[in-house]
Structure formats: C-alpha cells, structure tokens
C-alpha cells in the first residue's frame, strides 16, 4: 500500500465581508495539518468602541451579530452596570431574562430545524427536508417567530433590537402587551415538545473525546445573565476571573483568536455545555422531558447538541411563560446611571455559549478599552481538536461523505462565521 496524502479543503466564500475555510491534510492516517480559518468581525468592534459613550455600547454591540444581538446587548449592559455601580430592579432583571428567552428560542429553532436536522435525516439541506417533512420545517419557523415576537416587544424590533440600555430598558411593556405575547407563546410550547420528540428519535453519530465543558452556573436558575464560571474539569470562579482562566492566543491561520482554559487546552461552550453543567437547574417539568429523550446528561458527544438545543427551546418557552405570568411592571424602565472612571466585565449565556465583555471607562463614561470574547472564538480550538480526532477515519471514506462529516461536526457548534455563504471544495491529493 502506498503512502496516501489527502487534502480536504472546505472552502468558504463570504457574502463579501466574511471569509472562512477548513483545510485538512492527512498523511498515512496522521493529521499533518488542520486549520479552520475563520474571519471574525467582533475584533474590529473592540477598536471602534474606544472613545464612544458607554450608553452607545448596547446598540453598537447588538450589530455584531444578526442572530444573537440580545446576547451582545446583555453582556454589554451587565459589564457597564458593574463598572458604574448600577443596581438593577429585580423586575427589570426578570424582563431581561424574558428577552434572552426570545433569543434562545429563535436562534435554537433556526439551527435545529434548518441547519442541523438535515444532517441526521440524510437530507442535503433544509430544502430537501421541507420537501420530505414540511410540517417539521414549518414548526421550526413557527418557533422562530415566537422567539422573534419576544425580542420585538422588548427590543423594539426583532432585527438589530434597540430596547436594552444600561440600567434597564428604554421602555418596558404594559401588562396587556405581555398578555398578547402569552397568546403567541403558549402554542409554541407544544411545538417545542414536538421538536424535542422529533430530534430525540434521530440516529446520532457517536463522537467520543475528552471535552471540558464550560458554562455559567447560578445557585437556583438555569443560567442566562448571571452565575459563576464553571467547568466539568472543576473550574468554579467568579465571572470577573474569566481573564485569569482563559488565555486567548493568535494563530497564524485565523483572524479569530483561539482560547484555552487554565493551560489545559481547548474547551467547549454552548447549549451542550450549559445542559451538562446545569441539568439539575431545569424545573421538574422540563427535567422530566429532558430525561425522556434517550440521552443521559451529562455526556460528551457533541452530536447531542441538537437535543440540548431542543431541550433549551422547551425550557425557554416554559421560562418565558412563567416570567410573563409573574410580571410586575418596573416603576422605572431604567435605573439612573452615573458614569465614572471604572472597569467592569460580565459573562452571559448567548445561544452559542458564554459571551464575555469587559470595558474600561473614563470619568465622562467614554470607553477607553473594550474586550469582546464571543462563544465561537472560544469553541474554535475545540472544533479543530474534534476534527483532528475525526480526520483519520475520513481517509477510507468517499470524498463527499468525508466533507459531509466535517461539515456536520462544525455545524453542531453552529459557529458564527460572519454571515457568510459557503461553497464547498474538496481537494484530494494522493501520492
């Protein structure tokens, strides 16, 4: 048998602004080169936030991502509230949780139905899936709309929402508006359960590997805006200590930084990490359905991320309804804010995992320094590590199948790749 060298290139071409690709070289069953090349925009935001008034930060950071703007707003307002010593009304806190539920629902519904499900059902894309199982895709669309409705109410609009500000919201809803929202959300609960049953029946690949999962953990709640930084490897630290545990380093092949935890190596954030670390924080009704879908939690198979997402949709709708039912309008939409020279940081749970932001301000409240660590850049090193485990098994496979497996693995992390569209090229080099 001759030595074989194979280069697999998943070339991704951007709409225009983004770029990313996977380059993989395997020689004699050994991965000799693996690079996930990602163009990632948040780095520019860190630079152009400097000199801006702190009050502008929630609206500016919301523009980083079209899928998860709420997450960027939430980490920003919490970081700046810490910097300025702002106390937030518990009723505002509850509304923010509702706001975040909306984003988890819309983002997860999109990923589960349109992106990930076709991987497990032998469909080339959601278009093929829609032809086969139109009801499932339509259910996904309904769920996404339900999530959008929450964001629209609290954020003013569902795309690039503007409702959040330091201290609270620019406007809080009237109880009557929440009643209307409740009518939209209540039927989504059944859709979410149907989706969980659906994905619970998928035949998932078994991916094995030692993975350290990282997520927030709150004393009582399933984590969204608050909690300590914890990991399945024993990390348990206050949020503010993020910087002393996570090291970001540059890698030549990516504009995104790669993150490692406590010198141990890559780690995984996202719905699977959250569920693995917080399954005991689900309310009993949700915990019951979570344990009835054929997967034991915690588990390290990243293919089960789709089930974790479906469980979180069920949870987010359940939690949103609870928050609506217990809603008391805050006296003030936002607490008063007095800027000062200070620094503050915060981590919140974006749909794709923990999102860290840190700011330094001057006495007038202008941003002197900004740091944004999105979930995708934290996951990149982990995605590469998992691809490295997968790579040797690809040699024996037909080209199309090898590419498909790489894609499915990357998709289970749902990386944020700068709103890019992707064209695929598989290059095989055999010697």
């Amino acid at each position: 048998m001759t030595a074989r060298s194979r280069t697999i290139e998943v070339k991704t071409l951007a709409r225009v602004e983004g770029e990313g690709s996977l380059h993989l070289t395997v020689e004699r069953g050994e991965v000799t080169d693996l690079r996930l090349e990602i163009f990632e925009p948040p780095r520019f935001f860190e630079a152009f936030l400097r000199g801006r008034d702190a009050s502008e930060v929630p609206d500016l950071t919301a523009r980083i991502c079209g899928i998860c703007p709420v997450a960027y707003q939430m980490s920003a307002v919490h970081a700046l509230e810490r910097a300025f010593g702002v106390e937030v009304d518990p009723r505002v806190r509850a509304l923010r949780r509702l706001y975040y539920c909306g984003e988890w629902i819309e983002s997860h519904a999109l990923h589960v139905h349109l992106l990930a499900a076709p991987d497990f059902l032998g469909c080339a894309s959601v278009v093929e899936l829609a032809a086969k199982d139109r009801a499932a895709v339509e259910r996904g669309m309904r769920l996404k709309k339900a999530g959008d409705a929450i964001i629209r109410l609290l954020g003013g609009r569902s795309v690039h929402p503007v409702g959040a500000c330091i201290g609270g919201f620019t406007r809080v809803p009237r109880p009557a508006e929440l009643h209307v929202l409740r009518d939209t959300l209540a039927p989504a609960g059944d859709d979410a359960l149907a989706t969980l049953r659906w994905v619970g029946g998928f035949e998932l690949p078994q991916r094995h590997g030692e993975i350290e999962f990282v997520a927030l953990r709150h004393p009582d709640e399933y984590p969204m805006n608050e909690g300590r930084l914890t990991s399945t490897g024993g990390l348990n630290a206050p949020q503010e200590a993020f910087d002393s545990h996570v090291e970001e380093r540059q890698v030549p092949h990516s504009t995104s930084l790669h993150a490692t935890l406590d010198g141990r190596g890559p780690y995984c954030v996202g719905p699977l990490a959250r569920l693995n670390l917080n399954v005991d924080r689900l309310p009993p009704e949700v915990a019951t359905v979570a344990s009835s879908c054929g997967v034991a939690w915690p588990n390290a198979n990243t293919a089960t991320s789709i089930i974790a997402r479906a469980i979180e949709i069920v949870y987010a709708i359940h939690e949103a309804l609870r928050l609506i039912d217990t809603y008391e309008p805050p006296v003030r939409a936002a607490a008063p804010v007095t800027p000062r020279a200070s620094r503050g940081s915060a981590i919140t749970e974006a749909p794709r995992g923990i999102l860290y932001q840190a700011y330094e301000t001057d006495a007038a409240g202008r941003i002197q320094n900004a740091r944004i660590v999105p979930p995708t850049s934290q996951n990149l090193a982990q995605i590469e590590a998992e691809l490295r485990v997968l790579a040797p098994t690809l040699l024996a496979l037909p080209r199309a199948e090898a590419t498909r497996q790489c894609e499915a693995l990357i998709r289970s992390y749902d990386p944020c790749i700068s709103c890019a569209t992707h064209f695929l090229r598989l290059e095989v080099e055999e010697r």
């Binding site: 709409r15 225009v16 770029e19 349109l114 278009v127 992707h422």
Partner: protein, 162 residues
C-alpha cells in the same frame, strides 16, 4: 394584486452594498408603482419579505465568475442554490428562495444580481467603481419589468423573456 415589492439585499461593506444602493435609487425615483424594502438579513426574515407580496424583484450582489458589474436577470425560481451553510449565519438568499419554493411562499418575479469582486480590500472601501457603473443598467432592468407588468395589467409574471 398587491404592488410589486422591490427587496434590496446587502450590507454596508464594499461591493456587498450594491443591492441596497440600487434599491435606494429605485426608491428615490419611484413614482409609487412599487414598494421598496431593504434588508441586511437575508435569512429567514427574507421568507416573510417574500411572502408579503405576490410579485417581487430581488436585488443582490452575486458571484458567478462573470466580470464585475455584469447584471444578471433571472426568474426567482431559476436562481441556482449555492452550497449548504455551515452555521445559522450562513443561510442566504438562494436557500430562502428554494425553501420558499418548497413551502409555497415564493412569489413570482425577478432576481437582479450584480456581479461583485469579493476581496478583503474592498470591505471598507465602499462599492467599487466597476460595480457602481452597473447601477444604471440594473435600475433600467427594474424599470423595464415594472413597466411590463403594468402593461400586462398586473397580470402574470412569466418565467422567460418572451
């Protein structure tokens, strides 16, 4: 019959802005024979924009290998699909048109695409000169279709050029 909806798709970056630019040009010169909307989010949101009208002209930047500034004019159902997205952020115009076709929410109409040059250098540079030069031709295409549909009394929008 609803008014024809013009949907401009693009971002503020470089040549990718071209779809928005043409839409803005139509809007500023529109005698009210169409409704112009613009979006930077051509994902699932596009489905709702498409479903809101029964005749649509979609304007967007494209890459097919033709020369920069080439104007493509296709029936919506003839827009070829690219490859599948790797993340939720990658769901694009062609996917949504195809999905709308299967789900039954795809209007009749045209896709007018301007060939662009996607280099990192053009990202923050605004629309390049050779792509911007295509604006009048693209606007003319849009106007021609609007006129033709008006002549037909808002009747059928057929697939071909006839």
């Amino acid at each position: 019959m609803s008014r024809v909806r013009i949907v401009g798709v693009g971002t503020p970056f470089g040549d990718d802005h071209i779809g928005l630019e043409i839409a803005a040009r139509i809007q500023s010169t529109s005698p009210g024979d169409c409704e112009v909307v613009m979006t930077e989010q051509p994902g699932v949101e596009l489905l709702e924009l498409l479903a809101g009208s029964d005749t649509v002209i979609l304007l967007d930047a494209v890459r097919s290998g033709a020369g920069p500034g080439t104007v493509h004019d296709l029936a919506l159902e003839d827009v070829p699909r690219g490859c599948r997205a790797l993340s939720s952020h990658g769901i694009g115009v062609a996917d949504m048109l195809a999905l709308a076709g299967v789900l039954g929410g795809r209007p009749r109409g045209r896709f007018i695409g301007i060939e662009v040059v996607p280099t990192a250098e053009t990202m923050d540079a605004g629309v390049s000169a050779e792509v911007a030069a295509a604006v009048p031709a693209a606007v003319k295409r849009v106007r021609a279709w609007l006129a033709r549909w008006t002549d037909e009394g808002g009747g059928a929008v057929d697939r071909g050029e006839r």
